[in-house]
């Protein structure tokens, strides 16, 4: 037996132990550096859950209390909405439609006097407002006490939070009208919605404005695919009909960039630049197909006047618009 380990052997031994210690330390340090995403992705909850929208089949029966249901409640999703409303589905789908709940009810006393309620869950107040405002009928009659609502001879249309509701009657009697009103009233009472405001509505200058006529075009406004979330409002300026438009973008540079893009879109479609006297920096006036289009951006808002017959009046409207916007806090 080699008696005692030599000094050489011991020092080599220690050298090796040092290397081993280095390996351990190296491994320990390595474990701090890792790809978080790989680990988190699996651990974090159930990403496959599809959110339910809170519309239950029994809701309408409760809302239409006192009336007799004529069919079971129907529920439609994006994939089969067209089974119910055919081509109109496109409008709702492009606005982010989630669910439709509908059912028919008749008066207890007279089964021929019936109506159908449609509750569209659009996901957000803005989207509900969009489909509401775009479909506003010409013979709309304002309903006192409700913000976004109107009635026609045989129907009732309103927005409540993220829901857009239509109640359409088969007959035009006072009783059914009363039943529709009570339906609307009960619906609002029985559904809790998040509060919310649509800020852009207050940004249109009130002089000459048709307040009930403000419409939100959720996408493809004026045929331009980048134009989304555009509000349009009808004005009567010196008895001439004008349409103003306004869209809130993320930030001022996004607004001016979109304004330039829209201008480019108009030019590409046969528009011609026209010199404008309007005192708005960066404003563009374009003559296209016998009408004038005025575009400008102010802070994070993109705005202008659409298809105006008279350029002077368009410029005048634009000035009132920009004054309102400047005051609005850019």
């Amino acid at each position: 037996m080699a008696s005692q380990p030599t000094k050489r052997e011991t020092s080599i031994g220690f050298g090796i132990l040092l290397v081993l210690a280095g390996i351990v330390i190296g491994i320990f340090i390595k474990q701090f550096h890792y790809n978080r995403a790989m680990v988190e992705g699996v651990l974090e909850g159930d990403t496959s859950a599809i959110p339910t929208t809170g519309l239950s089949g029994e809701l309408l029966v409760e809302v239409a209390e006192g009336m007799v249901p004529l069919n079971p409640p129907e529920i439609f999703g994006p994939e089969n909405l067209s089974d119910k409303i055919d081509g109109k589905a496109e409008l709702y789908l492009s606005a982010g439609f989630l669910r439709l709940l509908c059912q028919r009810f008749a008066e207890a006393s007279d089964s021929n006097s019936w109506m159908e309620g449609f509750v569209y869950d659009m996901g957000t107040l803005r989207r509900a407002f969009a489909v509401y405002s775009v479909q506003r009928r010409a013979d709309a009659e304002k309903i006192p006490g409700m913000e976004f609502a109107y009635r026609t001879e045989n129907a009732l249309f309103f927005v409540h939070g993220k829901y857009y509701v239509e109640v359409i009657a088969a007959v035009m009697t006072e009783e059914i009208a009363e039943a529709m009103r009570s339906f609307a009233h009960n619906f609002i009472g029985k559904t809790e919605v998040q509060g919310g405001r649509i800020e852009e509505l207050a940004l249109f200058p009130p002089e000459g404005l048709d307040e009930e006529g403000i419409t939100l075009l959720i996408s493809d406004a004026f045929g331009f695919d980048r134009f989304d979330n555009v509000f349009i409002a009808n004005y009567a300026v010196e008895n001439v009909q004008l349409m103003a438009f306004l869209s809130m973008r993320e930030n001022p540079s996004a607004a001016s960039e979109l304004a330039a893009a829209y201008h480019g879109f108009l030019m590409a479609n046969g528009g011609v630049d026209v010199k404008s006297d309007v005192k708005i920096p960066g404003a563009k006036l374009v003559k296209i197909l016998d009408t004038f289009e005025l575009i400008f951006s102010q802070g994070k808002f993109l705005a202008g006047v659409h298809e105006a017959q008279d350029r002077g009046l368009a410029e005048k409207l634009a000035m009132t618009l920009i004054q309102k916007l400047s005051g609005a806090g850019t």
């Binding site: 390996i23 890792y34 699996v42 599809i50």
Partner: protein, 653 residues
């Protein structure tokens, strides 16, 4: 401090490191979970894995570069890896030590005697490397197609020269050996000019079957840890199951127990890595040997020799594992680890015969093409071979898979399983997905298997690529197969039982499983009315089980009435059915009229464009044994042959 102590510390440390790396291979961020622990490090240090993948893929992939450390140190020092690092070796060393320590000296010497059978591991090495090399040899023959490869041919030629020089030493009859070997290689390359060699040669990486590091990882991950953890569930939150683990366990135990017969049995007779390191260590600068040729032949050194390399006589350098036992056993202090050759002489070359070498070589070339005749990599694809997401196309996959079991260990839902004979012997122990075992299907947001695979047989895909998002939108998500509804077994299809578990659990958005409504009249569901009102209808006798229709899935219709819309049944007794109060009948059904009770079924359908084959539906299906919805590898992204649809149709619209 004795070098023996250092060696033991080193062995213990690497064994502990290995154990720890296996334990932490569990997805998570805690210190005892995966985090950044370099769990593949020991595999990466293994030069046999490096060499095998170089032969099959002609690249040295990423972390496998660590093997160069082992190679360089082995060339300088000898088989230190076997004696100081290899955890499998340490295990054998320890069990072998236990087995021999109480035996008399004579028996110990006999146990640690050199056996001619120790050359088997060299034949195994040649065989496994040839199995891997077939494709590269064919590639060599195609060299002139591709201009860059002129360099390749020069290098290969010089490698061939080196190999020839090695054989120079390996056999007795040099010239004949050179001639025959050169002839073989030349013949093969020549054939390549005339025949399409791609058809004749095929290669895949089979070293993982016998490589000790891959084997010990596999055994630890798939057998030892799950068994130990069975009661405690500390190492993993779930009980882990592995199909066919019994065989892996048997092999492991056999290898361990054989040490009681002959110590380090596996290292001496089977280990191809040991063989490779033995060949690499031929020119080692430091080697064990006698300082003086004055031995008293006490055989004490032989008794403790771990490598069975005969330190008492002409020491066999290629078998020496640097355990240093002989150095301390020798009472005369004759044995040293030094730069000079042993005074009693050395045998540097392993004792392999030309015949054995040729047999191993030729059978290695023949194996894979023969196995491929079964068509299992092509048209005769077995339906159970579903590869994990990110797996490379099959032939390349088989070129890279080490069968180390790391992917099986890390999979959070335990669905990656070692294949049995489904894919034939070539795919033995490669990872396949089994959605019945385990806790769920392939999780949507998990990319663990690709990230952990040391050889990128499963590519390290990003989450975006797996889900088909952002820059990967055009190709759509990665699919591993498609679910097929077995209408003969599915509850709503075949048994009138409402069920939409598969559709509910389908994680894609929109769901790949959709349903179509269907109403079936239940058995014995046409009944005659005895009494009724607007909400209730009573039948003759007591034909019903109370509450049987109260689940909300049953409806009744009046056959002949004007109002024949279905009404949902709210409840029933033995003879009365009550419909939901939200929609009563206008007029109660007349006496004697017939009422039909129907069950509302939602029949599942699969849309192949959207199905990724994640298997969650198969896992959740309540038909437990042979599931009513099963995933098979049709339409998997990585293969054109198993595509179901036109390429465009596979993309998300």
């Amino acid at each position: 401090m004795s070098i023996l102590t250092v060696r033991r510390i080193s062995q213990a440390l690497f064994l502990l490191i290995f154990l720890w790396l296996c334990i932490v291979s569990s997805l998570g961020e805690k210190w005892w979970q995966l985090r950044g622990w370099p769990v593949n490090w020991l595999l990466q240090l293994d030069p046999l894995i490096g060499l095998g993948t170089v032969l099959t893929t002609r690249t040295l992939y990423a972390g496998l570069l660590w093997a160069m450390v082992t190679v360089v140190l082995t060339v300088l020092l000898g088989r230190f890896f076997c004696g100081w690092v290899c955890p499998f070796g340490s295990l054998h060393h320890f069990v072998g030590f236990l087995g021999r320590r109480w035996k008399p000296l004579r028996d110990q010497v006999a146990m640690n005697q050199y056996h001619r059978a120790q050359s088997i591991k060299y034949y195994l090495l040649v065989f496994l490397l040839t199995v891997a090399a077939g494709g590269s040899i064919a590639h060599l023959a195609r060299v002139f197609d591709d201009r860059h490869m002129i360099v390749w041919i020069l290098v290969m030629a010089s490698i061939a020269v080196i190999v020839v020089l090695a054989i120079f030493k390996l056999t007795s009859n040099r010239r004949k050996a050179i001639a025959i070997f050169s002839l073989l290689v030349g013949l093969w390359m020549g054939l390549g000019f005339f025949l399409p060699l791609d058809r004749v040669t095929a290669a895949s990486l089979q070293i993982g079957l016998l490589d000790p590091i891959a084997l010990v990882y596999r055994s630890m991950n798939l057998v030892l840890l799950p068994v130990v953890d069975a009661g405690m569930h500390k190492l993993s939150t779930i009980q882990r199951y592995y199909e066919g683990a019994w065989l892996i366990g048997v092999i492991f135990l056999a290898a361990v127990f054989l040490n009681l017969w002959i110590p380090r049995f596996y290292c001496r007779f089977v280990c191809p890595l040991g063989a490779l390191l033995g060949v690499l260590g031929r020119f080692a600068l430091w080697r064990i040997g006698k300082a003086r040729d004055e031995c008293t032949a006490c055989k004490l050194c032989d008794a403790d020799c771990e490598g069975a390399c005969q330190p008492s006589g002409q020491i066999r350098i290629s078998e020496c594992v640097l355990c240093m036992n002989c150095r301390s056993s020798c009472k005369e202090g004759l044995i040293e680890y030094r730069t000079s050759l042993s005074a009693s002489g050395e045998i540097t070359s392993p004792d392999i015969r030309r015949r054995g070498f040729l047999m191993a070589f030729v059978s290695g070339l023949a194996v894979i093409p023969t196995l491929r005749l079964s068509g299992q990599v092509g048209s005769n694809w077995h339906p159970a071979i579903i590869r994990p997401p990110g797996a490379l196309p099959e032939e390349v996959f088989l070129d890279r898979c080490l069968r180390c079991g790391q992917c099986m260990r890390i999979c959070p839902t335990n669905i990656i399983q070692p294949a049995g004979m489904e894919g034939g012997p070539e795919a033995f122990w490669t990872p396949i997905l089994n959605f019945r075992i385990g806790t769920s299907g392939c999780q949507v947001n998990c990319i663990a298997c690709g990230q952990i695979c040391p050889s990128a047989a499963i590519r390290p895909i990003s989450l975006n690529e797996k889900l088909g998002r952002e820059e990967y939108t055009a190709g759509g998500p990665i699919r591993v197969g498609t679910a097929f509804v077995d209408r003969g077994r599915c509850l709503p299809w075949a048994m009138d039982k409402p069920c939409i578990v598969c559709q509910e659990n389908c994680p894609t958005s929109p769901k790949a499983i959709f349903t179509r409504e269907h109403f079936n009249t239940v058995r014995g569901g046409v009944l005659s009315v005895r009494r009724s009102d607007t909400l209730n209808v009573e039948f003759e006798g007591n034909p019903l089980q109370p509450g049987q229709f109260a689940t909300g899935d049953y409806y009744c219709t009046l056959d002949a009435a004007a109002d024949n819309h279905r009404r949902r049944i709210a409840d029933n007794t033995g003879n009365t059915v009550t419909i939901a109060s939200s929609w009563p009948w206008q007029t109660p059904p007349p006496r004697g009229s017939s009422v039909r009770i129907q069950v509302h079924l939602q029949l599942p359908y699969v849309e192949p464009k959207l199905c990724t084959g994640c298997g969650i539906c198969e896992h959740e299906c309540p038909v437990r044994v042979r599931r009513a919805v099963r995933v098979t590898p049709e339409n998997e992204s990585r293969s054109r042959e198993r595509s179901l649809l036109l390429p465009m149709a596979g993309r998300r619209q």
